[in-house]
Each structure stands twice: as structure tokens, then as C-alpha cells.
């Protein structure tokens, strides 16, 4: 898919994935790929600055879980109440936008 489109909606994608359950970075990517049959394909390192920014903005909260492959505790991200509100707003924005694009094309 167009990477610009993906990056522009990364927050919406991450919040949607974490809406179900807290996950760590690698698992977030796997979930995104699994649930879209591999549609979301991007440089995976770019997920972490987004996660840290969302944590800083209060959309996500983090806590450490079991040890990962490197022996260090995995950092799990969970959506906050503020994150759920933002997710709702972003869904409405996206829906309005995609609806307008569809109307433009006469669909």
C-alpha cells in the first residue's frame, strides 16, 4: 500500500489494534499484518517513535510483562480512556474523508 497513506493513519491503526488488548511492538505489527492479510507493510522500526509519541500524548499507557527473546521484559502498550476518545474521533474523520472520496468518484 501507499506508505504515505499508512504513515498518515498510523495512530488510527495502532489504536484500533490495541482496542482489543494490550500488546508489545512486535505483536502489534503481527496483528496488523494478520488482520489485513499483510496489507500493512512498512519499515517496522518506525512503529516505535509512534508508540512513544502516543504514550507521551496520553493515548497509550505502558507496562512491562514477561521476558522477551532478548531476556528483557517486554513493554506492553494499552489504550487509555483518552486514547479511546481519540480513536472514536479518528474513525469519524476517516469515515467522513473516505465517504467524501467515494462520493467524488461517484461510488
Amino acid at each position: 500500500m501507499n506508505p504515505d497513506l499508512l504513515r498518515g493513519n498510523l495512530e488510527l491503526i495502532v489504536l484500533t489494534i490495541l482496542e482489543r488488548q494490550p500488546l508489545y511492538g512486535f505483536a502489534i505489527i503481527q496483528e496488523a499484518k494478520d488482520r489485513t492479510d499483510g496489507y500493512f507493510d512498512f519499515k517496522e522500526g518506525s512503529l516505535y517513535p509512534a508508540l512513544h509519541r502516543m504514550e507521551q500524548d496520553g493515548l497509550l499507557t505502558a507496562q512491562y510483562g514477561e521476558a522477551g527473546r532478548n531476556g528483557k521484559p517486554r513493554k506492553y502498550y494499552a489504550i487509555t480512556d483518552k486514547g479511546r476518545v481519540t480513536l472514536g474521533e479518528k474513525r469519524r474523520e476517516f469515515s467522513t474523508f473516505s465517504g467524501a472520496v467515494l462520493r467524488l468518484s461517484g461510488a
Partner: protein, 388 residues
């Protein structure tokens, strides 16, 4: 140890990636990001191993999947370092002028203070019985009974907080180093800025040299804010001038200016600095020394040798935070006035206004900015169109 990291070469490759991806971050944040990226990389390695790839090939593919470590580092610095500006305390709201500094008494006497620098952060050694990878980033610290211990270099430009305190005091500023090691500097208008140690060596706290600019560029706390030179740059606050680096403990221009890029873009693209950044940045366009050659452009600037020039292009996507997003690179001009800068889009069309960087006609528009000798609070004054 993970099977994919059984060889020193594999360890070095991963370590190099993690080092680059966390450059510029404080030790605590760097460790946190390292752990996350390492776990992610090993997860990818396992996935490729399951598909039948050999360990070294699996690691190579995993690091490729993660993408440029410089981009990760740039974006992480955007998250963790730029917001520090907002956290600085404010005691007064008075505008500052040179006249007020004169009233402060004695401050207008020109003072130049040399600040020795560290070029890398202390790193715990890694020990192995195998061959140590040959890399400029690797330093062997001991060899004993078949065991070799080595460290990976985490490069930057770091100044001791007690040296910074000495410099500010020489310029007439009030300073206080508290028990936690934070240095608080009070400016003549009553506002203060705090610098926190990113790491310590022999009890001395150190901070990245770029923080001297980061703390003072959004409000006119000093009569002047300019920088000259590439290596061991001279930072001018007006009568007080700081030479960052000494002959024995120098500052490499590449380390200093790359760490400053986010701040420079923030200043360049923001209408009202006191209200906060209007943009974010994506980072430098090159992968780093020794890496695969990336597209670059050589520009005849018409400037004298040693001037520092920044190239800025606008990213085509808008990041989730809704701010405009930019790519940048920065380098010094050579003796012939040319400068080589990394960029993704070519050919470039140079424009004289950052607001014209967005193009719907498919052109790769770019802005060139002279960074040295211009007011760092008004970087737009440094924009120029190159001769060729």
C-alpha cells in the same frame, strides 16, 4: 544468547543498528528503545529462520525490515528531545533587549569560554571468546585468558554541566547546580532554564551540546544566538561566547549539527516560536558513515569554506500528529564553495520560502539554509538560492 547472535559479526551488526537507532537519546530512553528494537529484531529473525533462512541472512533481513536506524533515531529524538523545550520553567515574561543586559551590569564584556567535550557516552563492555569484529565503532578494552572485552562507541558531543555552569557564570548569569545534578541558569529577565545530566562520568553530569541552543532559541533570552564553524563550533550568546570543544577534547561538527537538526527545522518552520513547534521532522536522509551510498546532491553555494548549510525538503505524508513533516541534511561547504547533501527526491527545485516546499506538481522542492553566522532564532534569514 539468541542463536542468530552466535558470531561476533552478527552481534556487531545488531549492536551497530541499535547504536544508530538510539543516537541522541538520554541513557534511560536509549536503553528502553534498544530493548524494544532488539526484541523486535530477534522476533523477525525467528520468523525468517522458520522460513528456512540461515541465521546471518535472517538477521540481515530483520534489520532491513526495521528500516533505517537513523530514521528511528531522528523520530525518537523528535518525541523525546524536542518536547523538553516546553518543560522548561518560566519565571518572567519580559522581553529581553541588549539594553537590559547593559543594565544587568558587567555582562556586556566579551567573554570566550572553551568547553571540553566528550565524543561518546560510556558503554558497558561486551566480552567474547570469539574474534572481535573489525569496526571503527569497536574499541577493545581488555584481553585476558582468551576472553576479549570491547565496547561500541555511542558518538555525540557532550559537555560537562559544571563546565557549562562555569561558562554561564563567566558571562554574568546566575547559576545553581542542585543535589540531583540539574543545572539551573537564570537569565537577566528572570527566566530560567534547567539542564539535566544525560549521563555521568566520575560524578560529573554531562548533557548533549545541542541543549545549549535548544534551551534558548524559542525566546530571546540572550542578545544573540549564533553559531560559527563546523568542528569545535563557536556559539555566541552576544558578549558571552562558548567554544564547544577544545583541541584535546573536540566536538565533531557532524555529531553536533546532526543532533541540532530537529531544533533548526522547528525554528525554520514555525511562525511564532513561543507558541511551540508547528512541524515535526523525519531526520537526515543518509544512512550514516560507511553505509550504502544514498542519493545526494552537490550544490555550489557561493559561500566561503566552512560555512554550514542545511537542506530541507518536505515529506509527502502528514504524520499522525497533524504537523507538517520534513527531511533534512546538514554539512559544511568545501574550499570550492560546494556542499554535498543527502536527499531522496531528485532533481531538486530550490525555493526561497519554506511555505513553498509543498508541491502538487510533482516537483521535489527544497530549501537551502545557511546555518552559521545567522540568527538561529530567525533561520529564514539564512535561506538562499544556490548558484548551481
Amino acid at each position: 544468547m539468541h542463536p542468530a547472535l552466535a558470531t561476533p559479526a552478527a552481534q556487531a551488526a545488531l549492536e551497530h543498528y541499535l547504536h544508530c537507532a538510539t543516537l541522541g537519546l538520554g541513557p534511560e530512553q536509549a536503553q528502553e528503545v534498544r530493548d524494544e528494537l532488539e526484541e523486535h529484531a530477534l522476533g523477525l529473525v525467528d520468523r525468517y529462520a522458520l522460513l528456512g533462512h540461515a541465521p546471518e541472512d535472517a538477521l540481515r533481513r530483520a534489520l532491513a525490515d526495521l528500516g533505517s536506524p537513523w530514521r528511528v533515531s531522528a523520530a525518537m529524538n523528535g518525541v523525546h528531545n524536542m518536547p523538553k523545550l516546553i518543560a522548561f520553567g518560566t519565571l518572567g515574561l519580559l522581553a529581553v533587549s541588549a539594553g537590559m543586559y547593559a543594565l544587568a551590569g558587567g555582562f556586556l564584556r566579551e567573554t570566550v569560554v572553551e568547553l571540553p567535550a566528550l565524543s561518546e557516552t560510556p558503554q558497558p563492555p561486551t566480552c567474547t571468546r570469539r574474534a572481535v569484529p573489525a569496526s571503527p565503532l569497536v574499541t577493545v578494552v581488555s584481553r585476558r585468558e582468551g576472553m576479549t572485552c570491547f565496547t561500541f562507541r555511542n558518538q555525540g558531543a557532550f559537555i560537562g554541566l559544571s563546565d557549562i555552569q562555569r561558562a554561564y557564570a563567566a558571562g554574568g548569569f546566575k547559576t545553581r547546580l542542585n543535589a540531583e545534578g540539574d543545572l539551573r541558569v537564570t537569565f537577566p529577565n528572570g527566566e530560567w532554564r534547567a539542564l539535566s545530566p544525560q549521563f555521568r562520568v566520575n560524578g560529573q553530569g554531562y548533557t548533549s551540546a545541542n541543549m545549549l541552543i535548544v534551551g534558548t532559541e524559542r525566546r530571546a533570552l540572550t542578545p544573540e544566538l549564533k553559531v560559527w564553524g563546523y568542528d569545535n563550533p563557536l556559539l555566541s550568546f552576544g558578549p558571552l561566547k562558548l567554544r564547544l570543544g577544545t583541541e584535546k577534547q573536540p566536538v565533531a561538527g557532524s555529531n553536533f549539527y546532526l543532533s541540532l537538526l530537529g531544533t533548526l527545522i522547528g525554528v525554520l518552520t514555525t511562525r511564532d516560536l513561543e507558541k511551540g513547534w508547528e512541524s515535526s521532522w523525519q531526520g537526515v536522509n543518509h544512512f550514516g558513515p560507511g553505509a550504502a551510498i544514498q542519493p545526494s546532491v552537490t550544490v555550489q553555494t557561493g559561500l566561503k569554506a566552512g560555512e554550514v548549510v542545511m537542506l530541507v525538503t518536505r515529506a509527502r505524508h502528514q504524520p499522525p500528529n497533524g504537523k507538517a513533516s520534513y527531511f533534512a541534511d546538514i554539512a559544511p561547504t568545501g574550499t570550492d564553495g560546494t556542499v554535498k547533501l543527502f536527499t531522496e527526491g531528485q532533481p531538486l527545485v530550490f525555493v526561497g520560502d519554506v511555505n513553498r516546499l509543498s508541491a502538487s506538481d510533482g516537483q521535489n522542492r527544497a530549501v537551502l539554509v545557511r546555518v552559521t553566522g545567522v540568527d538561529l532564532r530567525d533561520l529564514k534569514s539564512g535561506i538562499f538560492i544556490p548558484k548551481s
